[in-house]
């Protein structure tokens, strides 16, 4: 591997510095994620319970903010109906970059047990999702594990991050 010596410090050390800056920025971002309280249905109760005293969320630096403009992570907890879909899209658009989406529970993942006319079959038809949580309703520990997984995902990203366009052009 040392067939050619790469002088990493030749451009003023830019690639190393970018990696360190990456790590620092990601460390900062991952340890102070601010969640957007997007409680729709039953999973919202578990989200509240996971923010309450027993399964504390504050110890991870996660605070629940009510405004989309001040939050980073949108946790879709509950059934997404077709009447509510444009509101979800609008609120997602109002969040500032960088933003992530956690889809909590079966209803948000795929429409869940409500295989009916008025349920969106999975919130990823409308917005791009980063982490999916199975469960109905998932336990608070599951939501916390998802938060930790999201932190690991953020730490492995570069700061020039593009939106992961899973389904859209």
């Amino acid at each position: 591997m040392a067939q050619h010596e790469v002088n990493y410090l030749q451009k003023g050390g830019l690639p190393i510095m970018l990696t360190t800056v990456d790590k620092l920025v990601n460390w900062g971002r991952s340890n102070s994620l601010w969640f957007f309280t997007f409680g729709l249905a039953c999973c919202a109760i578990e989200m509240m319970a996971s923010g309450a005293g027993r399964f504390d969320f504050d110890r991870y630096g996660i605070i629940f903010r009510a405004s989309p403009r001040q939050s980073e992570v949108m946790v879709i907890s509950g059934t997404v109906t077709k009447k509510y879909a444009p509101f979800i899209r609008r609120l997602y658009d109002q969040m500032a970059e960088p933003k992530w989406v956690v889809s909590m529970g079966s209803c948000a993942n795929t429409g869940g047990m409500f295989n009916t006319y008025s349920t969106v079959q999975g919130v990823d038809r409308i917005i791009p999702v980063d982490i999916y949580l199975p469960g109905c309703a998932p336990r608070p520990e599951t939501l916390q594990y998802a938060a930790l997984m999201l932190q690991q995902k953020i730490r492995s990203e570069s700061i020039n991050r593009k939106i992961s366009t899973k389904r859209f052009i």
């Binding site: 460390w27 991952s30 340890n31 027993r54 077709k82 009447k83 879909a85 444009p86 899209r89 993942n109 795929t110 429409g111 295989n115 009916t116 006319y117 008025s118 969106v120 079959q121 999975g122 038809r125 409308i126 999916y132 199975p134 594990y145 930790l148 932190q151 690991q152 730490r155 992961s164 899973k166 389904r167 859209f168 052009i169």
Partner: protein
């Protein structure tokens, strides 16, 4: 000699074996024995023609004509039935060509309930009882939303549970459970426009759909890989933080967890 073959595509639509000799009994319709309810019904029958009144498993039921429904309810309200607990309709379009509308009333002073039923034809409209009971404002809207039954003299007959521009009436038996085409593409058309229908793709309505090699949806629980990568059989390791830990953040080690013997976590 051979049993006739039934195709099995839509087995979940109905219980695929129906006993053709089965006669399901009907709940017996007894005459109303309770004297208090009987007095109320008699007071109503003086001005309104009651087609039938009976008691089924301690539910008192009164059947009237559709145009007599509102006068009957007004008379019952004078008798003390001041609460309209609920009202809705039952779809009998295929069998009888109409809807059966029922009103469930409650008398708090006498602690009695009564159900008033009437039958309306398909395109007939029913008179609103909202001047008598304010809860009919929303109940009738819901009935209109779900069945398409128009209500005369209603203050605000708009859709309540579904979006305003929804097409067709869901609780009719002819409406499919998964929704018709307008329903299936509703959110895509509204947010992105019709052009994005093939970008986003149709809904996945099959509850039992499993594709082993699909790594673009999240079906591979326990064996997750990146988006679009090759599926593997390795189990995703469950780890709470990266191996080396994160600076300034306490490293969670599975060996250090303490399992409490007792359930009472606050003691």
């Amino acid at each position: 000699m051979f049993r006739r073959y039934q195709p099995k595509e839509n087995v979940q639509k109905k219980a695929y074996y129906t006993d053709r000799f089965l006669v399901v009994p009907e709940i017996p319709k007894n005459p109303v024995e309770d004297s208090v309810s009987l007095s109320h019904i008699d007071a109503v029958s003086k001005s309104v023609n009651i087609i039938e009144s009976y008691m089924q498993r301690d539910n008192v039921v009164m059947i009237v004509d559709a145009k007599d429904a509102k006068p009957a309810l007004a008379l019952l309200k004078d008798q003390g039935y001041k609460v309209l607990t609920e009202m809705s309709a039952v779809d009998w379009l295929a069998k009888k060509g109409g809807f059966e509308v029922f009103y469930q009333l409650l008398n708090i002073k006498a602690a009695k309930r009564i159900r008033v039923k009437c039958f309306i034809k398909e395109n007939e409209a029913i008179e609103s009882v909202e001047p008598l009971f304010r809860s009919a404002d929303w109940s009738e809207r819901e009935m209109y939303d779900m069945f398409g039954i128009k209500v005369n003299n209603h203050p605000n007959l708009k859709r309540i549970l579904l979006p305003e521009d929804w097409h067709d009436y869901p609780l009719r038996k002819t409406y499919p459970l998964h929704g018709d085409e307008a329903a299936n593409w509703y959110e895509v058309d509204l947010i992105y426009g019709k052009e994005y229908r093939d970008v986003i793709g149709p809904e996945q309505r099959d509850a039992a759909y499993v594709d082993e090699n699909d790594t673009k949806n999240f079906a591979r629980i326990g064996h997750e890989v990146g988006y679009g990568e090759q599926p593997t059989r390795n189990l995703t390791p469950i780890r709470y933080q990266e191996e080396g830990g994160v600076p300034l953040v306490k490293k969670m080690k599975p060996e250090e967890t303490k399992i409490r013997a007792d359930k009472s976590w606050n003691k």
